[in-house]
């Protein structure tokens, strides 16, 4: 089926491919231009958060290679553990400043509500992932945090499924399950930013509208990510 046809293809492969290609407008996965209003240092905190996350994951992978108790007895292991700790601290610092920035910009406007939601869920998921990390240190911290946290979780009836005293379970949640879930949420969050573009300033009016040209000539709005609705392809080369 050609790209110009509007008739839905019977091929699942074609429909999936067009669905995937249509998630982000053509050329917007890695654009080399961005709106002129994107000119503030506040915008660097999103990428700074991602950079910190990259180091969290990298240092975590090295800790996995060494094993869960490696860092207690090996000085290289302890250094890698330190990079893991400080990359997490920086990750949270940059993420919260990014959150403050996105709030004062009301960055959820223009159909970006899901971007905010995925960001908020990523923040909460990060807290949970860090929590299981504290439980996996196999030191006094882990002993105290687990014996305290169990009371909160048991009071809500979930302490048996998520047993913070079970080191084997908590280590696996921290190393595999939660990073996987968090990774998916972060990817969706970033893809949504690419899909919708950076939110215009509060109260901004599109230049065509400002010039008083008929609304028909204003660039069409992004269609929402709704199943069964035809997705318009990108307008810009």
């Amino acid at each position: 089926m050609s790209a110009g046809t509007t008739e839905p293809s019977g091929s699942w492969t074609v429909r999936l491919r067009e669905r995937i290609v249509g998630i982000v407008p053509s050329g917007e996965w890695l654009p080399d231009r961005q709106p002129v209003y994107v000119r503030s240092w506040i915008y660097v905190f999103g990428v700074a958060t991602l950079a910190a996350l990259a180091y969290v994951i990298a240092s975590g992978v090295i800790l996995v290679i060494g094993g869960s108790a490696w860092w207690h007895t090996n000085s290289l292991g302890h250094f890698v553990n330190s990079t893991h700790l400080w990359s997490v601290e920086l990750f949270f610092m940059f993420m919260v400043v990014h959150l403050w920035g996105m709030f004062v910009m009301a960055a959820w406007r223009g159909k970006r509500g899901l971007t905010w939601v995925t960001g908020a869920v990523a923040f909460l998921g990060s807290i949970g992932t860090a929590f299981t990390g504290y439980l996996s240190q196999s030191n006094f911290d882990s002993q105290w945090i687990s014996t305290q946290a169990k009371d909160g979780l048991n009071s809500m009836g979930i302490g048996a499924v998520f047993n913070v005293l079970n080191t084997g379970q908590m280590l696996l949640w921290h190393v595999m399950l939660l990073p996987l879930v968090l990774g998916v949420i972060v990817v969706v969050h970033v893809v949504l930013v690419r899909r919708h573009g950076v939110v215009p300033p509060i109260g901004a009016v599109a230049p065509a509208e400002q010039a008083g040209t008929p609304s028909l000539q204003v660039a069409p709005q992004r269609t929402p990510m709704v199943a069964d609705e035809p997705v318009s392809l990108g307008r810009r080369p």
Partner: protein, 316 residues
Amino acid sequence: MSASAVAARRGGRDTTPDSRAFATRPYDLVKELVVALVVVGVLVAGLAAALSSPDRPALSLQSWSKAAPADVVATATAELAGTSTSAGYGPPYNSASEGAKLGPLPLQRWAGVRIPVDSAQDLVLAPLSTVTGDPTLRDALAAWSSAPEATRLGWATTYGEALAAAPDGDPAKVAAGSYGPVPLLAERFLRLAGTGGLEGLLVTQASFYGTDATKPLLLLADGAYIEDRARADHLGGDQWGMMNETGNYPGQPWMWLYTFWYQVPPFSTSGNADALVLALMALLTAVFVCVPFVPGLRSIPARLGIYRLIWREHVG
């Protein structure tokens, strides 16, 4: 709110223009990411090299027995008497109590006993019964198991009270009384902890490769020693402990609101504080996630006006 900001939401509809309708300028996203990776990498390596990371060693049951032997004896006695925290906890460990409630909802009880732990049997008697070459202990265990339950509880409760009344809780200074085999069992338990083998006995009851530390942790938490050590590092619940880390390291400042509630009434004086705080934070979290959809909340940024600093070249 400025007229243009009001105009952006006409009649509840979001009329934010398409970002692609605006003029653009060149920008190198990949270069930005690489710069971020270099800068953050330098920061991470520098902080790690300069400040390291905390590693306060785990308490072993052996170190507990050497540092606070009276506490170990008192804890073993409480397990036998059914008065320890774990013995009276309720679900998921046992049915001794209903546990916490969220208003009228007994969520803890609803969850059921999914991790059964008999504090007296699993934490004290089973490990003791593995000891060989000690006929006195064997006889004490036999005396305990052959006595009626009411008698056993009477022995253990009375001995527990006597320990609390003794100077420094010292078992050697306990007043004479009818305690049955409890003093001997508790003393042998202290000796077993001192060998360093007690964790292993508690963890590997089910499997050689035990990775579930539920039982030794419940035992440790039943004593006072772990909390004494935690409070010395400001990790106690009423010390904003949830935010803190051992030593002088930064902890989890993002937990500030969660731990705040524990410091103030009615939470600080409630037996159901855990359930209440968790429920309140769940509600606030839901609101946080749904900010874009909550009228009033979503218009705060326009009213605050801080956005003018970010877009000062593009807004009036």
